[in-house]
């Protein structure tokens, strides 16, 4: 089908094209307490098509593009007509498609996904057995298993394929004591069953669930706040946005090469983007542009090195493309051994979404602990507020490292003197 699409696109006179064929099979299993509520089987085949038309104006080369999703049975002629007309109305700066590439081998498929039905049943069994404890019961769970085969073909000669697997699990536990009930809900997404650490993770959350029944609201004021590895990618989203080539091109980036990212020169944060971590959620042998999976240092010991760029923005900025931002890698800075004995450890925020543009963060504390002199007091409610760029002036990273799907680096970071809105 890809070749037929390519022929039809070429016959319509487009100057370039990119076709991404995505073929996938999903199994979904929904558990309600300890029985099945629903089972789903999904098959899907679609083509993500981008066509390009070149223009010339005052001797300058310009380019327009149009994107559509074609599914067998859909009206291809309608899309191509629409694309042709749309491309006649738009004239952006020119950029080239990448030419032939040699993608690296990156493991992205757990062989367990070859028999998703059996794997789903095994995972459900693990959940049934693990999601219980004194005063704790399983409320519900959702299991998503996906296997995708993806092929990229471009008019510039790229033709490459990859197979990816994905396992997503969401679990809700209910804790009860003396007529009082609370819940803990958590999600985990990985490419490999072993990386789920399912039994261990459920056991941790069973303990948290018990502790949700006796929580205090944190005290208003300034406090040190510990963010766990699972939240560090989200916490760093303003850094990722401002280090993009698109932000630079559009005058939105606050970073310039070889300048410190924050005011204090002793901050020695090192940030990399890596597309080659085996089974990384954002690992990719090649991205939608065909750029091979690579690792790039974006920030080196507090000094900004380069913007990450898709092919389009690399051409606009006149730099080599790195590909889109993949897995976040943080290298432990040297001052990570500092001891802390009074901080809030946040197990779960209601929604940790710092504003990527301003860096402002306000997030409700869904559950955590106030750690003081070695004593852990469960907390819930109130919120944490800061500006991520300012907060990075005063951080401590753990020296232990961990892999959290899309993040490889210190197990936690403590940001100092954040604003707490509580009692």
């Amino acid at each position: 089908m890809t070749d037929k699409l390519a022929e039809k696109i070429t016959a319509r006179g487009f100057d370039d094209f990119k076709i991404i064929e995505v073929k996938s099979n999903d199994k979904q299993l929904y558990l309600l307490r300890e029985r099945i509520e629903s089972k789903r089987t999904i098959e899907s085949l679609y083509y993500d098509v981008t066509v390009y038309v070149d223009h010339k104006s005052a001797g300058k080369k310009l380019r327009s593009e149009y994107n559509f999703i074609y599914k067998p049975g859909g009206d291809l002629n309608f899309y191509l007509e629409q694309a042709k007309f749309a491309c006649s109305l738009v004239k952006n700066r020119h950029y080239d498609l990448l030419r032939a590439v040699e993608p690296p081998n990156v493991d992205l498929l757990d062989p367990h996904l070859d028999d998703a039905t059996a794997t789903g049943a095994d995972l459900a069994d693990t959940i049934y057995k693990s999601a219980r404890g004194a005063g704790v019961r399983l409320s519900s769970a959702e299991i998503y298993l996906k296997r995708s085969e993806i092929t990229l073909k471009t008019s510039t000669g790229i033709e490459c394929s990859k197979i990816k697997g994905l396992i997503e699990i969401e679990i809700t536990l209910i804790g009860s004591e003396g007529g009082k009930e609370q819940e803990m809900n958590f999600q985990v997404k990985r490419r490999r069953i072993d990386d789920l650490r399912l039994q261990e993770r459920i056991a941790e959350y069973v303990k948290h669930t018990v502790n949700t029944l006796n929580v205090k609201i944190p005290t208003s004021g300034k406090a040190n706040v510990l963010f766990n590895a699972a939240d560090i990618y989200g916490l760093m989203s303003p850094i990722i946005f401002h280090s993009s080539g698109k932000a630079k091109d559009q005058g939105m980036s606050r970073f310039n090469p070889n300048e410190a990212i924050v005011g204090q020169s002793e901050n020695d944060l090192t940030i990399k983007t890596s597309g080659i971590i085996p089974f990384g959620l954002y690992s990719d042998p090649f991205d939608d542009d065909g750029i091979p999976g690579q690792e790039h240092t974006i920030i080196d010991r507090g000094i900004f090195k380069k913007h990450w760029t898709t092919k389009r923005y690399a051409d606009y900025l006149g730099v080599e493309p790195t590909g889109s931002f993949k897995n976040l890698v943080i290298e432990s800075p040297s001052d990570s051994s500092a001891a802390h004995d009074n901080y809030y450890e946040i197990v779960q925020f209601s929604d940790l979404s710092p504003d990527p543009i301003t860096g402002d963060l306000v997030a409700e504390i869904r559950f955590g602990y106030h750690v003081q002199n070695g004593k852990r007091t469960p907390i819930k409610g109130g919120s944490v507020g800061c500006n991520v760029f300012e907060a990075l002036n005063n951080t401590y990273f753990s020296s232990d490292t961990t892999f959290e799907g899309r993040y490889l680096g210190p197990k936690f970071v403590i940001l100092k003197d954040l604003s707490i809105s509580g009692q």
Binding site: E43, Y46, I69, G74, L89, E181, E183, G251, S350, D351
Partner: protein, 456 residues
């Protein structure tokens, strides 16, 4: 959609009518256009295709669904027959009945068919708006986006076919401003179900976002604590949606995840409060004619004069819990399951003039524009992120802006603290997830409200 395909599915459903407790088929399709302009570039794309088919079967104990986006008659007939062969019928624990009977069709009313307006005309209008934003003081970039989409759904049972075509428009403008040390922004959004007429802007919309963006460069962080606040209809809507919308989605009752279940029929809010979910609201971004289980859309009073009247249901929750059925079974796409979901959720207007509400506050905050929210139906907590608010002092709005702001608190406290409800009414355009996934179009809104919340 090929009629022979619809008939083939209907025949398959008729064949199993006497042996399978519940079997329905649903086709989804759409077409549309997305336009995105920024300072330097222009992007045009077709609306992402949601074309697909779902065969839903209830085997007496649980649902089994088989979904495909390979819409080819021979393939789909074989797919359905093979799927039905795998279903093992169990003794019926719950009775589920297909909703639709007979053949009916519905379509969104519109004044101007978006497809009757040329792409050139749309581009010209959006470029003109982009130019106006970019000419503003300290503006470093902008986003101007427009989306039009026509979504069709064909719900098939053994004894009927119900079709709906929903037309949705959304239009979004952002002004990014900077004086060289950080970027701030303000936005304006509009849209709903309807036609191209929804792209109209209030006269001051563009000047407003530029002016506020600049003022946000001088904004302050608020001292954390409890404040008397006035919420605009947008903020009121976010509170209704997060505080008592998600908390009464009764699939959460099945999972013991919603505390509101213990309060059915009881007073839960100030007597001034009535909250409604209405998928049949004309023009609402979350409006539809039938839900994804074929139920005809109609309004549900969730809270009436402070009393919790009724939760929202999808078919399974309604059958298992023995609750009245409402038309709130929705799925993100053919690839996702049906959950109980909100549609257009809003506070019913009261009697107070919004100016009088502001004048009633000695020291507080006028919460103006929302960013996002998150529910916590079991803990009955709430998180609403607000882009900015203005200080109220001695009954008057001052020049001082706070940004950003986070509302957190305990839902019953917040709802019982509502002491004034405006006579005005407005709903906005939104996308809602269940937890962190399952995104569907919704709206929320209402009048201005006065309450007391924790701000951080």
């Amino acid at each position: 959609m090929d009629e022979s395909l619809i008939n083939a599915v209907r025949t398959i459903l008729s064949d199993v009518e006497s042996t399978v407790p519940y079997a329905v088929g649903t086709f989804f399709n759409n077409r549309g256009l997305n336009i995105d302009l920024d300072r330097k570039d222009e992007q045009l794309a077709s609306a992402p295709s949601n074309m697909g088919f779902v065969l839903s079967v209830f085997n007496g104990e649980h649902f089994e669904e088989f979904a495909s986006d390979i819409i080819n008659k021979d393939h789909l007939v074989n797919f359905c027959r093979a799927a039905l062969d795998t279903v093992k019928i169990k003794k019926q624990k719950h009775i589920l009945t297909p909703s639709a009977g007979g053949d009916r069709s519905f379509r969104t009313a519109e004044k101007i068919d978006p497809e009757s307006v040329s792409l050139q005309e749309k581009m010209d209008l959006l470029r003109e708006r982009r130019a106006r934003i970019l000419s503003g003081k300290n503006v470093v970039n902008c986003a101007v986006s427009y989306s039009e989409e026509s979504s069709t759904k064909i719900f098939i049972t053994h004894n009927g076919v119900v079709r709906e075509e929903i037309r949705r428009i959304s239009h979004f403008l952002v002004a990014y401003v900077s004086r060289g040390n950080g970027v701030k922004y303000d936005y304006f959004s509009t849209g709903g179900t309807g036609g191209y007429e929804l792209i109209e802007l209030p006269e001051d919309a563009i000047d407003g976002i530029i002016s506020t963006g600049n003022r946000l460069l001088e904004s302050e962080h608020i001292e954390p604590g409890f404040y008397d606040v006035v919420g605009t209809p947008e903020i009121a809507g976010l509170i209704a949606h997060e505080a008592f919308g998600h908390g009464v989605e009764t699939d959460m009752y099945l999972q013991d995840r919603a505390r509101s279940r213990d309060y059915l029929g009881k007073n839960i809010a100030s007597e001034l409060v009535s909250i409604i979910d209405d998928p049949s609201l004309p023009g609402g971004y979350g409006s539809y004619f039938i839900d994804d289980e074929g139920n005809i859309a109609r309004a549900t009073y969730i809270i009436k004069k402070g009393k919790f009247i009724q939760g929202l249901t999808h078919k399974y929750a309604s059958a298992v819990l023995g609750l009245p059925s409402t038309a709130n079974g929705r799925r993100e796409s053919f690839a996702r399951k049906i959950y109980t979901r909100m549609s257009n959720t809003f506070f019913k207007p009261g009697v107070d003039n919004p100016d009088d509400i502001i004048a009633s506050i000695d020291r507080g905050v006028y919460l103006i524009k929302g960013l996002s929210g998150m529910e916590d139906p079991k803990g009955w907590g709430i998180q609403v992120l607000v882009l900015y608010g203005k200080e109220i002092k001695n009954g008057k709005i001052t020049e001082k802006l706070f940004s950003p702001l986070g509302i957190t608190g305990y839902v019953p406290d917040l709802l019982k603290s509502i002491s004034m409800v405006g006579e005005d009414f407005k709903i906005d355009v939104g996308i809602c997830g269940k937890g962190h996934k399952e995104y569907v179009p919704v709206s929320s809104g209402g009048p201005h409200i006065k309450t007391r919340v924790r701000l951080g």
